[in-house]
Assembly symmetry: C2
Homo-oligomer: 427 residues x 2
């Protein structure tokens, strides 16, 4: 059993990062600042650049894949190398292997405390696309803003609806989020006003990282779409609901989203997630041929939760618990649909799942849904109420898989809301 594999490094049983996980990230240390690749193991980061310098993890002679500021080069090296490096790392870190275990000089260079490194965006993200693939989320939004009886638009059940996002404003977990300002249309006035966002929201999402490029004009058939995915992260698609409501017709969300989107630092590979494969919902109607896939085995059982902590308060409240398995459209369906008209995806592209809402009110993945657009405000354990996010709030999304004593976690993606910029002009 893979779950019997143990490292010579002690890993707490509640850690997200056992030897069966080994998620990839990018880190640096002071004062040197050089960015390089690491994997997480328990409380440690393993410096793959050092291992590589010492003759391990060889992919191609004379080429460095881990003394790199992003994972893109390693990911581009191909799926067989992802497997090979994972297997070599698991062997090296195993309690049964002496090579690294008994080489104390090397160990002192290879292992760094996670608390003592600075994490960075793990990939260079050329393109970022966000989908809208939770039926519960789309139904909730449609019920609120359109018609509860016809909440889903006609195209929703036929294709994974998505849109191009803004890659430059994808930031790492821990980055503060400045409350955006923009045009807001209030019901009582004829014209919009310029204002700080009054309905700042999170969106609980996951994202996948494209692992293999396709050329322009060459769609990726669904049969091989999974081979084009490197791994997954947690993702918070911060949303300014009031800006969005005014701007989004007819070309979609823009300034309501482009101010920031946050990802977790560690990319969990599909190989690490393999034991947690599960079914996705049965699709009615049966999708068109190019999107058809066996639904028994095309999702993952990932527990997801959202916590909020108000400024200066010790309490943290869990405001949502849901699961990735509720997603209607699979990641393979998203990827294939994205390329079907010929669009070229690139290694490192980030594909957001869309807000992941479950079937019950405590499993909704946004404040818009949790408070039903402020009509049912949440009461936090400190007595404060929340319709949307307040300045000083820290919002954290966590995620993990767990089965038979094996836990494969994502860590977290977190961000704190800072007050809006004070502009000099006034209306």
């Amino acid at each position: 059993m893979k779950s019997q594999l143990k490292s010579f490094i002690e890993v707490d049983k509640n850690s997200d990062f056992p030897i069966q996980n080994l998620p990839y990230g990018v880190f640096s240390t002071l004062p040197e600042k050089r960015r390089r690749i690491g994997v997480a193991l328990g409380e440690w980061v393993i410096d793959l650049a050092v291992l590589e310098e010492n003759g391990f993890l060889k992919i191609q002679d004379g080429e460095s894949y881990f003394n790199q500021p992003t994972l893109n080069k390693f990911i581009e090296s191909g799926k067989s190398n992802w497997s090979k490096i994972r297997a070599e790392l698991q062997a090296l870190l195993s309690s049964e292997t002496t090579t690294l275990r008994d080489n104390h000089e090397l160990r002192s260079k290879v292992f760094l405390k996670q608390t003592e490194v600075i994490l960075h965006l793990p990939v260079h993200i050329s393109g970022y696309t966000d989908f809208y693939s939770s039926k519960e989320h789309a139904t909730n939004v449609g019920s609120m803003f359109r018609d509860p009886k016809n909440a889903l638009l006609a195209n929703w059940s036929e294709l994974p609806v998505g849109y191009n996002g803004r890659a430059s404003s994808v930031v790492l977990s821990g980055t503060d989020i400045v409350r955006p300002s923009g045009q807001i249309k209030l019901p009582e006035s004829e014209r919009p006003v310029f204002s700080a966002c009054r309905k700042l929201d999170f969106e609980l999402e996951t994202g996948f990282i494209v692992g293999r490029s396709n050329a322009l004009g060459e769609p990726v058939p669904i049969e091989i779409a999974w081979d084009h995915i490197f791994g997954m992260v947690l993702f918070n698609d911060w949303s300014a609901r009031d800006i969005q409501q005014w701007e989004y017709v007819p070309l979609g969300p823009f300034n309501a989203k482009t101010f920031a989107s946050s990802i977790s630092p560690w990319i969990v590979t599909l190989e690490a997630l393999e034991p947690f494969k599960t079914s996705s919902p049965v699709q009615h109607p049966k999708p068109l041929a190019y999107l058809q896939e066996d639904h028994h085995n095309n999702s993952y059982d990932i527990h997801l939760s959202v916590e909020i902590q108000a400024e200066g308060q010790p309490q943290t409240d869990i405001i949502c618990q849901t699961n990735f398995r509720h997603m209607y459209w699979s990641m393979a369906q998203q990827l294939t649909h994205h390329t079907i008209s010929g669009c070229n995806l690139q290694v490192g592209d980030l594909m957001g799942s869309g807000t992941i809402s479950g079937p019950t009110p405590d499993s909704y993945g946004s404040l818009l849904e949790l408070t039903w657009n402020t009509t049912k405000p949440l009461t936090l354990s400190n007595g404060q109420q929340r319709g949307f996010l307040e300045d000083g709030d820290t919002l954290t999304i966590k995620g993990y898989c767990e089965k038979e004593g094996l836990r494969i976690g994502f860590g977290e993606v977190s961000g704190k809301i800072l007050p809006a910029i004070q502009f000099e002009f006034s209306e």
Copy 2:
């Protein structure tokens, strides 16, 4: 007078590229393939990498800005360097300056025939955004698909509506365009079908290239927005109208656009366009303060035309003639709006104007409008009719400014339609 400036190189009076223009591009030559920076002068490309190697065009000691595969590094060097290099080039190329004129060995290395080089994308485009800033275009589309009496949506007059496009599929003029396939909803059937696009269209646009980055959370005030623009190109935002109509609610166009967008190879700088500054339409209502700008001097008088040539036919038909000056929202307004919620733009980002339609039916910038969604098909001079683009059609957009004997042109952006991929599955 600047227009009196003459080069020692003979330039035809109808050329787009006199010494007053000097647009920037990237080229290579066989067999070497090294990409480097050039400017166009008449029928020639001037190899700036060779000039730099020979001690000219110095920006910073020990740094090469022109022996580069894209213009990004030069653009990042800043606006004062754009002016300095332009002035130095104009002086070097002047008929009155002997330095280059009389150095025949250097001249033989510096001047290459445009017909003998391969042109490439001039910039690395990190982000591509498309606006929707022609009132005539938005009115036409709204009249066709919504309500002629309320053709413009309420937000259109308040902000430059835009959306994030897909940067990876921006291609250079001359790249063939494979007809995309995807989901199409026909009126007679309940469900969509998978089909090659039946309503393939062009969109006559210009684009501007961002010349200066802004940090995340730091909007660019409109007073300095022009300083963040390096120059302009011609742009064709190919559009699959039938795919778009089915997919675009509620998150905007996606596969209908991401299969390809074409730009012209030469970036014409704002400095070269300066003599052609003109007014844009008066804006009613007066925009909110953050978008306010003097409209007398915030547009350019650029003649634009569209030509179509059917496969194997000698005739070319001009199907549209319009002018950039019709655009309602200025490039500065677009840029400032894009950043107002905090979005960070990056050097090399491409910002499409949106389809540029004029007030008369022969000035509409798309076949959708020119044929009023096929209800008024065009008859070409060879007798063929066109509702939308046919396989084998070559579509070319041209643009130039002209005044008092001075012509500053953009060259062209062109693309030929290839048949759709034959997919193996069928519905």
